[in-house]
Symmetry: C2
Subunit: 368 residues, 2 copies
């Protein structure tokens, strides 16, 4: 085990922290697979479980996901889908057994069609698709397998229970391996990526200021696209955040996140930051298109006020980001807002009406 951990250490030195997580995940999957294979490999276990051990292996392979929450969510979906599908399938199979041979076949065909089509239709309902899509899929699968097995096996109920217990074993093994050995929490990733967005936007604002100063000093050649791309990528991150929120909502109490933690608020913060990113993009558009004032004293007075406003905004954003990471309230909004309003007045005095009227959008946000 020590040689394995040194190999791991060696491999992660070459690649980054994300590679590290991927490697650990791979080892965890390998371990879980070996453990579940023991159901086949050790004779005493195989005598107990028999060929149903196949279902345990299948569960481990399919349910084991990168994030702890995704594993739990998929596992619970699989469990509920199997129980419901198995129960209904048993009922329908027993119902059909009492009919004649032709009656049974046509009844089973009808059941399969109706339940299959209806369950597939519910998969297109957005709220079900979002959280229970996999569960409905497993429902369809189990219902179908159980009801058609009823034709050739008398002991439908025993068959279903055996499979269910095998799936349960697979799930238990999956969850324990995934959650006990270096778990990767989607909630952590969401938390830190949201906090880092504040920092990125602060850098973008500073980038704007830099470009403004360069334009004043008439060095027009190097337009950096970094802050522009940051804002665009922030606008594109919505779907990733949504899936992380979805996974995080499956994760149990851990670390600093309690039960019923308000994960959807991260989406709201993301939307607000998206609006701020749009404002920064607008500001950038204005910067690149407006004629700059040319008299030297005016330049100097604007320069100072702009520097003050930009650094104040960047500093406030960073403070918000840090307060999210540390989960502490930041200093009262009033203090920051008063300073911002003061700087805005100074800017008003120093002409540049365009730049001036642009700002309320941003500090309006920073207040929020």
């Amino acid at each position: 085990l020590s040689s394995l951990s040194s190999l791991l250490h060696y491999l992660t030195e070459i690649k980054g922290i994300h590679e590290h997580k991927n490697l650990i995940h791979s080892f965890k999957v390998g371990l879980a697979l070996v453990l579940v294979s023991l159901l086949y490999l050790l004779d005493p276990l195989f005598k107990q479980v028999g060929d149903n051990a196949m279902w345990a292996i299948m569960s481990v392979v399919v349910v084991f996901e990168f994030y702890a929450g995704a594993t739990l969510g998929k596992g619970l979906n699989r469990g509920i889908g199997t129980i419901l599908g198995g129960g209904l399938g048993c009922g329908a199979a027993i119902l059909a057994q009492n009919l004649g041979k032709v009656g049974q076949t046509s009844a089973i065909g009808t059941f399969v069609f109706i339940f299959g089509a209806a369950a597939t239709y519910t998969r297109s309902v957005p709220s079900i698709k979002k959280k229970y899509d996999y569960g409905v899929l497993i429902f369809i699968l189990t219902f179908n397998l159980v009801i058609v097995s009823g034709v050739h096996t008398e002991k439908v109920i025993k068959l279903t229970c055996d499979r269910l217990s095998a799936i349960g074993m697979g799930f238990a093994l999956c969850v324990s391996t995934n959650l006990l050995i270096f778990p990767v929490w989607a909630s952590d990733e969401l938390h830190y990526s949201t906090a880092s967005k504040f920092n990125k936007l602060a850098c973008s604002i500073e980038g704007c200021l830099e470009e403004f100063l360069e334009r004043i000093e008439e060095k027009k050649d190097n337009q950096s696209e970094t802050s522009f791309n940051t804002c665009i990528s922030l606008l594109h991150s919505k779907s990733k955040d949504e899936s992380l929120v979805n996974i995080a909502s499956w994760e149990p109490w851990h670390g600093k996140f309690g039960f019923s933690y308000p994960w959807h608020k991260y989406l709201q913060i993301g939307d607000s930051l998206g609006e701020l990113a749009t404002s920064i993009l607008s500001l950038k558009g204005c910067l690149r298109s407006h004629p700059q004032p040319s008299s030297v004293p005016m330049k100097q007075s604007i320069k100072k006020s702009c520097e003050v406003v930009a650094s104040l905004l960047a500093c406030t954003l960073r403070e918000h980001g840090d307060s999210i990471i540390n989960m502490k309230r930041c200093r009262p909004a009033v203090l920051v807002v008063a300073k911002l309003q003061l700087s805005r007045l100074e800017l008003s005095d120093a002409v540049l009406p365009c730049m001036l009227r642009m700002l309320p959008d941003d500090d309006g946000f920073a207040m929020a």
Copy 2:
């Protein structure tokens, strides 16, 4: 069947066209499930296939997707994953059979760990994750099932071939039901949604013009957010487009799309339209923050030029959208660009330097 189609007609009258597609999809899934269940239900077929029919049912449930391309992609992934996993699993099982009891168990455990971990690691490589994630998953599953079955069955190869043929049957049934009965092509959806983006942006530009005119006439109360939201949603559509492109690339020649159709160009168009959306957002920001010129003759002269530019841009965008839908070249860029440059000159003459310098970004795009 006619009563079924009238029921379908009745249901779709209540809901929209998308509901229509969902309903058809549900019926198709139901039909495919009934057909695959016949492997169990009809005795002559069951005698041929036996309990391996389970694998055919599983394949249908798991592989049948909404889009034709997704079904094909998943099916091919499943096929290739099964063949590779089955082949390697057979080889490893036969290799292990020659060792003693303890040797066999430990050899199988080692194989399971190494192949499981290595395959899981490849799932984190972006290019494999994008197109072959499901294939690798199935590889792990099949490899594992085949190698552990080798402990208790001598005829590993026969077992694997039987399962493979059952999966093949399921896949064939799936693909034929999905592609022959009202197929839903991701390529069509991508094509039309890209074309409609042009129209949406044209509407946004007209919305900007409207707001500008209202501001001139000093009706400042109704700020419509529609065009704003259109631009934002366009910026958020990137991940959906990416998945559609991925699915579309699995779809075979059909309708107007030939082999090796350049699907990635839709992403490039989407990016360019995203840039235009950002420009429109900037324009909107400027509109809402700048003091408007107050002298009446100036207003009138600006109004006319702005109307000309906006309608020219909107018209050009719509033309591009139509040309994508009809797959025809639109009229040469030179004509439009000349007109736009003329209007720009007129605008230059009519003051409003801010508005004027904003425009080159937009018509620069319309040229492209």
